[in-house]
């Protein structure tokens, strides 16, 4: 079928092609990379994880929708960032939390950290982590005590609240007693690796997170600079504690390093800046874990280093080749 003159030729400026990956696709790829982690969470914590996800995502989506509505501007939900924020938020909370709390966190995080600054791309702090920090300040008891024992196949599972997370025990009881309670043998480390341990919804299985991160690295959505330097930074501090492997495998480190710290908007853009950013996160996480008040510090560490991102972007700029002696 041919037609001598199509009705309308588009007259847009070049380039007329574009690469495959769009913002929306990036958001969905990241969400997809998180899927195994959440499936695992459902497997060990039961269907309540889904309720939490619905709540967290619902809160975040509601926040974005409401602000757009109040500003009477076009809805931006289809870019997928609000859903991802809700998803990430639920990854950082304890599985036994009352279901309405993630909604509050998601809503406030999205509104305060993102929508008030003009929406996607303009936020300075990671909205999911701001949501978590707000929840931590508002529901301190629920956020720190509602851990569940992981039990494979526990679909509607027994909701027994167990001892604290490994890092909580470490903070509370000190190294010697925690070693005794946790029984840090090879088997324990194996459990840490596969994710049979007490922890936040998204952070338990290091293996599955590596899988998701592998996908993101393969799709070139994230680069290795940030995650590796986060791990390196933490290792630096954890070596002082005497149990580097424990610190490396537990807590929200991997979740934070691969899925939180790599958030484009709140991370620096140049490799050098990214490495400093990552090292900062790692070191601060270690400092908070070992000397600070909280058992786990990656949430606050990322937030604090997010604050430095604009400065890092200012300091580390692309190298302009052949500049010297050239007229500007």
């Amino acid at each position: 079928m041919t037609d001598p003159l199509p009705p309308r030729l588009v007259l847009s400026p070049g380039p007329h092609l574009r690469a495959e990956m769009t913002t929306q696709q990036i958001m969905w790829w990241v969400s997809g990379a998180l899927a195994p982690v959440y499936l695992w969470a459902v497997a060990i914590y039961g269907l309540r994880v889904i309720v939490l996800l619905v709540s967290g995502i619902g809160g975040a989506v509601a926040g974005e929708w409401l602000v757009n509505r109040l500003r009477s501007q076009a809805q931006t939900l289809s870019d997928g960032s609000a859903v991802l924020t809700g998803l990430l938020l639920v990854g950082t909370i304890s599985p036994g939390l009352p279901a309405w709390m993630p909604a509050v966190g998601g809503f406030l995080g999205l509104v305060c950290a993102k929508m008030l600054f003009g929406g996607l791309g303009y936020n300075i702090f990671n909205p999911a982590l701001v949501g978590r920090a707000i929840m931590m300040a508002t529901f301190p008891v629920a956020m720190t005590t509602t851990w569940l024992t992981p039990r494979l196949g526990a679909f509607m599972g027994t909701d027994a609240v167990t001892q604290a997370s490994p890092l909580g025990i470490m903070k509370l009881e000190g190294l010697a007693k925690a070693t005794e309670i946790l029984g840090m043998g090879p088997e324990y480390y194996w459990h840490l690796l596969v994710g049979l341990r007490v922890g936040s919804v998204g952070e338990v299985s290091v293996v599955l997170m590596l899988l998701g991160a592998g996908v993101l690295l393969w799709k070139r959505i994230i680069k290795w600079y940030i995650p590796l330097s986060v791990l390196a930074g933490l290792l630096l501090i954890a070596l002082c504690s005497g149990i580097p492997l424990f610190h490396l495998l537990t807590g929200g480190l991997w979740f934070g390093a691969f899925f939180m710290a790599t958030d484009y908007v709140t991370a620096p853009m140049m490799p050098k800046g990214q490495i400093i950013f990552g090292l900062g996160i790692g070191v601060l996480t270690g400092v908070i874990r070992i000397w600070g008040g909280y058992p786990e510090g990656i949430c606050y560490a990322i937030l604090m280093v997010n604050a430095v991102t604009p400065a890092l972007n200012h300091w580390f700029r692309p190298r302009r080749p052949h500049w010297e002696g050239a007229p500007s």
Binding site: C112, I134, A137, T138, F139, P140
Partner: protein, 219 residues
């Protein structure tokens, strides 16, 4: 109904008393609009009581310093007026500080440091420089009262919001047994509250059709 007597040599007609008294509440609110004296607005407003006390202290210092300056302005040498204003404020702050300590020791224990810090508030010295040094006693007093009341209003407003939502109580009396929204009594909550209240003020302004001023800060 202007009260300004045209006696002083470089006198301009003072605005009417009503304007002087009211403008501190909205149009020139020292916290929300002029963005001066912000420290106590965040620091001591986790309860209405503290806010009211702080507001009262600022009101007293403002009025007393304005009165002092209005009365003695003929004798103040122009070159050293700023140091002398500072001394006057410092004296009144010290007096109020001691009185507060004597009258309300419990509240004073919490906000004592901030009462002392009133001496560094830009709002007070700026009112002295802008108003009290140019007008006679009564308008200056009224101006001080207006500004002080505006400040107190802001403090009570912020304090009430933060206490009711963040602490679940009013004037220290618990309202409900439910868990309050703890964030608001933390520092972050204080900043959020003021930010939202400022935005609300802007919103009212926009609804009234006034142009939006995004300025502020002391210079």
């Amino acid at each position: 109904m202007s009260n300004a007597p045209a006696t002083a040599p470089r006198q301009m007609p003072a605005p009417p008393t009503r304007t002087l008294l009211w403008r501190g509440f909205f149009a020139e609110n020292p916290v929300f609009r002029l963005a001066l004296s912000l420290c106590p607005a965040v620091a001591v407003t986790n309860s209405v009581k503290n806010g009211l006390m702080m507001g009262g202290a600022v009101l007293a210092v403002q009025v007393l310093s304005s009165m002092t300056v209005a009365l003695t302005r003929a004798g103040i040498h122009d070159k050293v007026r700023i140091p002398i204003y500072t001394i006057i404020i410092a004296v009144w702050v010290s007096v109020i500080d001691m009185l507060c300590a004597a009258v309300a020791p419990v509240v004073y224990a919490e906000i004592g440091l901030y009462i002392k810090l009133i001496v560094a508030f830009a709002i007070i010295i700026s009112r002295l420089e802008v108003f009290a040094s140019k007008y006679s006693l009564i308008p200056s007093t009224m101006d001080g009262v207006g500004m002080g009341l505006g400040f107190t209003f802001a403090m009570v407003l912020i304090g009430a919001l933060r206490e009711v939502l963040g602490n679940g109580s009013v004037w220290g009396i618990p309202l409900v047994d439910a868990q309050p929204f703890l964030l608001l009594i933390l520092p972050a909550g204080g900043f959020f509250t003021i930010g939202l209240l400022m935005a609300a003020m802007n919103w009212i302004d926009v609804r009234r059709g006034n142009p939006l001023s995004t300025g502020g800060g002391c210079h």
